[in-house]
């Protein structure tokens, strides 16, 4: 499992990508999907997921639909129109960041600054 610090900045793009690919999902489903896709290496904690979902909802990036399931309310989160645009820029930024990190890690020092 990766450290909380490493996951902190990547949770939002992961979430947006997942909702972009799979459509509306509920909280537990998101946790399980990420766990399965990452082969158990990324486990999203409830304490990270739900505050983020509600922040994105307040920003208008996500929208919800409540359904009654087995006597309880289940909220499905989906990308709004604004969220679809945000996903493209968030994923672009993450990819750029990953290639920069890779560059730093693989570049051998040639000259001393």
């Amino acid at each position: 499992m990766y450290s909380k610090e490493l996951l902190k900045g990547t949770l939002k793009p992961i979430l947006l990508k997942l909702l972009s690919d799979r459509g509306a999902m509920y909280g537990y489903e998101i946790v399980q999907a990420v766990k399965q896709m990452s082969l158990g290496k990324i486990v999203i904690k409830e304490g990270s997921l739900y505050p983020l979902l509600h922040a994105l909802l307040a920003e208008g990036i996500l929208e919800t639909e409540s359904r009654k399931v087995d006597g309880r309310t289940r909220k499905y989160y989906a990308l709004s129109k604004k969220g679809k645009t945000e996903t493209v820029s968030a994923l672009g930024e993450l990819e750029d960041f990953m290639s920069t990190i890779k560059l730093i890690l693989t570049t051998k020092p040639t000259t001393q600054l």
Partner: protein
Amino acid sequence: MSIREQQIKEIRKYLLESGLDIPAVVDDMQDHFCCVIEDSLRAGNSFETAFAEARLLVPPEDIREIQSDTIYYLTIKSKIMHVKGIFLTAFFSVFLYVLGTIIYKFMILSGAGPAGEIRFILQTLGLVVFGFGFLPLLFSFGYKQFVARLQA
């Protein structure tokens, strides 16, 4: 395998007693707990065991953290706007007051126009911004901070 209505109420009671009181987040967490418990029931555990495991997984401290983090995310933008308002009104009230004094001195020295009236208008505007902008914003911010500290 689904959970009975009484058991759902028990889960909700645990969440509310742990300090979670944002209705939308309570619904989310209630469903989350139910899903975790249902997985455990499918594995052959009783509701009591499954619920105890779920509580260990998400103890009351974590629930309180979810509550405070959600409030933080939902209010951070308005807090920033509030602080900006405090600084801007402070700046404009001082600016108008000082400008009134400078213009007055300048006009008196050059002997031009109604210096007293211009000073009166600018300084009154400065005091209005101070009294009806800066002070209410400052007091409401202080009050909100005080209430938040009491609730923490």
